[in-house]
Symmetry: C2
Subunit: 188 residues, 2 copies
Amino acid sequence: MDLLKNRILQDGKCFEGGILKVDSFINHQMDPILMKAIGEEFARLFADCGVNKIMTIEASGIAPAIMAGYYMNLPVVFAKKKTPKTMENILMTKVRSFTKNREYEVIISKDFLTPDDRVLFIDDFLAYGNAALGILDLIRQAGATLVGMGFIIEKAFQEGRKDLEQTNVRVESLAIVDDLSAGKITLR
Amino acid sequence: MDLLKNRILQDGKCFEGGILKVDSFINHQMDPILMKAIGEEFARLFADCGVNKIMTIEASGIAPAIMAGYYMNLPVVFAKKKTPKTMENILMTKVRSFTKNREYEVIISKDFLTPDDRVLFIDDFLAYGNAALGILDLIRQAGATLVGMGFIIEKAFQEGRKDLEQTNVRVESLAIVDDLSAGKITLR
């Protein structure tokens, strides 16, 4: 996806510890035109997977997921990082965050994840794969099926793909970062 | 906006304490087709306000904001409820949440809110108006200008509009709930 790759090279910034900042167009300030193209590309990649629901996790996954949901004409559910007062009947898992260096609880209502669901998970980053594995845990608790995982940016050197591919679920990343050392972004 | 009003009457649920649950189509599971229509309507309503940036607050505001941003061809920034490790140069304010019954910090990077910005704030609910007033505080700290506020659903009986209109900023809600008592949703 050249539009995305060129934008990462142009506006992405690397920091020590394998951190890639894309907060001027993806996960703080967002470019809706780019986000729409991202949603369209996910829809194209997963068109033949029999998906009936898209899942993501708040907050940075919501924009690409809603755009993919629009193109696939499917409901989008975002898992929450806190339990709202008005929420009952939930499934819960724990996820360790790389950038925030802490563990947090992720929940979803059982009303919106059922054994009939064939789920496509969409998120902004694939790093160590912890958020994706947390979502997979929720999906298994619900008796649903995960059929695909789509990421805007994969940091290949953090090797999250290895764990995800052991689940035999299709993994697609729209841009793959092979290296961030020496302050330079190297895309595959 | 009849599409929205009919959906609220069909799928919304009321609970004691003035709570309206729309989590099957707006703020947990989301309907992307409805969300796109919502974005289009916000773009129509605020077309003549000279907006150059859309702001929202994670997480439920992101989907309507990115859709409005798409139609208006403008960048969308979401304020965050936690400070990520990789973030510096921020503005901070405090917001009291009605549904969660606690105060939380909301931040935005100074890189994405500057004195040149004429901001449209988009959110899912207008209740007491606390989130909107927090965003207004961030906008004032940045020396930017708030030119409009758009909400998917306004709970008129919680009277947030009163405080917001004192700022002389245009306030638009796509559906206004006049009453939720006796377990019945009454729309204006």
